[in-house]
């Protein structure tokens, strides 16, 4: 089946000025690849500061002006140019942002959902979509500051569902919610996927992602290091040492930390950015590491888990 979205070797970098005059290009995302098919939830998991939100902004074509994007974005089989993204966002491609700060603080919920439309049809639509997420009529007249954290998330999901999107990008939709509320919110995404949308869930929370995702793309220092099935995690079929370390660090799986920190943008040297922290590193890890097919998924590692220890 043709994927809804295909991202191939995407790079996003920023131009910065140091000391006012020296220009430098800061790569935040490098070589990111993933695919999302209709009806599927794909989680992009990476720790904070790994540039995950920029992926969402890149797909939607709303990156800041001082950034450059390279690589290929394919939406429904056609290249997703900035012009095409501008046409599709808000129609076929929807974003669910992080929280209430993404709502205009001085505008009531109803008019925000309707995006300037005032006809009876728009009113009926916005009322129906709020009802779908358990929000009553009075929600339309509320200002964002009058919404609780959970209500705000549901309003944001409602705004995406209103568009009946083919591709839904959820950027950290659950922080600040307790496990049960977060589970309910994620359930809404699964539901939208069952209705036929491709869902790209961007999160730092692997445990939560595994509760609804079909596939997981793991992100490290701006690169995709592994694309795995959700089932690979409990089954011990992981490929990349970082993914394995991430899994082992979960409270239920030993809570084992690894030493060192993720290199920031511009700090990674040549070769594998995880090498300094990797138990399986070898001399050739300093060279170029391609993304290779492995056990039904993909991995960017020369000495993946399950292979011979070098």
């Amino acid at each position: 089946m043709q994927p809804v979205l295909e991202v191939r070797d995407l790079s996003i970098s920023f131009t910065q000025y140091q000391g006012g005059t020296r220009r430098r290009v800061l790569p935040v995302i490098r070589r990111l690849s993933l695919t999302v098919t209709a009806g599927e939830v794909v989680a992009v998991v990476g720790s904070s500061g790994s540039g995950k939100s920029l992926l969402a902004h890149g797909i939607l074509g709303i990156l800041p002006y001082n950034s450059q994007m390279e690589g290929e974005l394919i939406y429904q089989g056609q290249p997703l140019t900035p012009q095409r993204a501008a046409r599709l966002r808000g129609r076929e491609i929807a974003l669910v942002p992080q929280g209430v700060t993404y709502l205009d603080p001085l505008m009531q919920v109803g008019p925000q959902l309707r995006r300037g439309r005032r006809d009876a049809g728009a009113r009926a639509e916005s009322r129906a979509v709020l009802e779908r997420y358990g929000l009553g009529r009075e929600t339309e007249e509320r200002y964002p500051f009058e919404l609780s954290g959970g209500m705000a998330r549901r309003v944001l999901i409602a705004s995406a569902a209103l568009q009946a999107p083919k591709l839904l990008i959820a950027d950290e939709p659950t922080p600040g919610l307790d496990a049960r509320a977060a589970g309910r919110i994620l359930g809404h995404f699964r539901e939208l996927a069952q209705e036929g949308a491709g869902v790209l869930l961007i999160t730092h929370d692997l445990e939560l992602a595994l509760t609804i995702a079909h596939r997981v793309a793991v992100f490290y220092a701006g690169e995709t290091v592994e694309e795995a099935f959700a089932a690979d995690f409990p089954a011990g079929r992981l490929r990349h040492p970082y993914t394995q370390a991430l899994w082992n660090a979960l409270p239920g799986n030993g809570f084992t930390p690894i030493s060192g920190t993720q290199p920031g943008p511009g700090e990674e040297g040549p070769g594998c950015p995880f090498a300094p922290r990797c138990p399986r590193r070898a001399a050739d890890c300093a060279g170029d590491i391609p993304l290779i097919e492995a056990a039904g998924g993909r991995v960017r590692c020369l000495h993946p888990e399950g292979g011979k220890t070098p």
Binding site: L60, G90, L95, P97, Y102, D104, L106, M107
Partner: protein, 330 residues
């Protein structure tokens, strides 16, 4: 509603304290002034020809030998009874002098106020929306240039250009010379107010424009504008639906805060244009030792500036949903 009343009550109490403080400060400055009202108003030559008796009468009229504390308390007692006193220079009740002058000045200041607000808001929004482009640089440069230009100098330059070289606008006064007061038309008044109003609006405009620009940039970089863009809203819709809405609140504050600047500027500008307004009267009263008039003008100006800020605070309660809804539920 109770909340709103309490808020207003507190504000008025504060206003009373402020007026007391301002009048006392003005009085102390006046008493510390080295100017001798007799010499200033009567003249050295005339004083020399007067008898001791006449001089004593004049000294009594100007209150030269009265202890300062008693003078102030006397003035304050009258004011509380609703009497602002009689102007020593104009020999008319202070309320009447201020009333006349304020009528002239109010035209000028209202025009400058509206103009600086409209112009400042428009330019600020424009510069913020086009940040870094040529328009922005032009507006910013102009605003910085204007805000570092003294009002009286600007007044002189405009006077030279429009009244002296181009001869299209009058060089001063509020009405044409040699015309019967009854036959002065509204057009005449407006014609004479153009230059002073323009100069005066230029003192308030740059602040409004630059602050609005900053706020506009904040709004355009906000999460909610990013989300609006992600939802397919056009730049135009973002600017009109989200930009203006969120710039409105600080704009209200700026618009009312600029009243004080316009009052301050009017003193200088009216002097340059010989415009018979409140600012000019204040200068005359200050230099001439006319204590009742000066204190009267000071108190009235302070009350107007304070009321401006009070109106801004009250408008906030109407415009900002956080205050409106928050107060309604409390």
């Amino acid at each position: 509603m109770k909340h709103r009343l309490l808020f207003t009550g507190k504000k008025f109490f504060r206003m009373a304290l402020l007026l007391l403080g301002v009048s006392l400060a003005a009085f102390l400055l006046m008493s510390a002034s080295p100017l001798d009202p007799l010499q200033t108003n009567v003249g050295q030559a005339a004083l020399g020809t007067m008898s001791q008796e006449q001089i004593a009468r004049l000294e009594e009229y100007w209150g030269v030998n009265e202890p300062p504390l008693r003078r102030y308390l006397g003035w304050l007692g009258d004011v509380i009874r609703g009497d602002l006193g009689v102007s020593l220079l104009y020999r008319q009740p202070v309320t009447q002098v201020i009333g006349q002058r304020l009528q002239n000045s109010l035209w000028l200041m209202a025009a400058a106020w509206v103009l600086s607000g409209l112009l400042g808001l428009t330019l600020g929004v424009l510069a913020g929306a086009r940040r870094g482009r040529a328009v922005d640089k032009l507006i910013r440069g102009w605003c910085l240039l204007l805000s570092s230009t003294p009002a009286f100098w600007l007044a002189l330059v405009l006077l030279m250009i429009f009244a002296v070289w181009l001869k299209v606008l009058p060089s001063g006064l509020a009405v044409p010379i040699g015309v019967d007061a009854a036959s002065v038309t509204l057009g005449d008044r407006l014609y004479h107010a153009v230059l002073p109003a323009l100069t005066l609006s230029m003192t308030g405009m740059p602040g409004i424009a630059l602050h609005t620009r900053e706020k506009m940039i904040d709004v355009l970089e906000s999460d909610y504008v990013l989300f609006a863009r992600a939802r397919g809203e056009s730049n135009r819709s973002i600017l009109l639906r989200h930009g203006l809405r969120n710039v409105a609140l600080p704009a209200i504050t700026l618009q009312f805060a600029v009243i004080s600047e316009i009052f301050g500027g009017s003193v200088l500008v009216e002097q340059v244009f010989s415009y018979p307004g409140l600012g000019q009267a204040a200068v005359t009263a200050g230099l001439g030792g006319d204590l009742p008039l000066l204190l009267g003008i000071t108190v009235v100006s302070a009350a107007i500036v304070f009321s401006g800020n009070l109106i801004a605070d009250l408008l906030y309660g109407v415009v900002d949903p956080k205050i409106r809804r928050g107060a309604a539920r409390a």
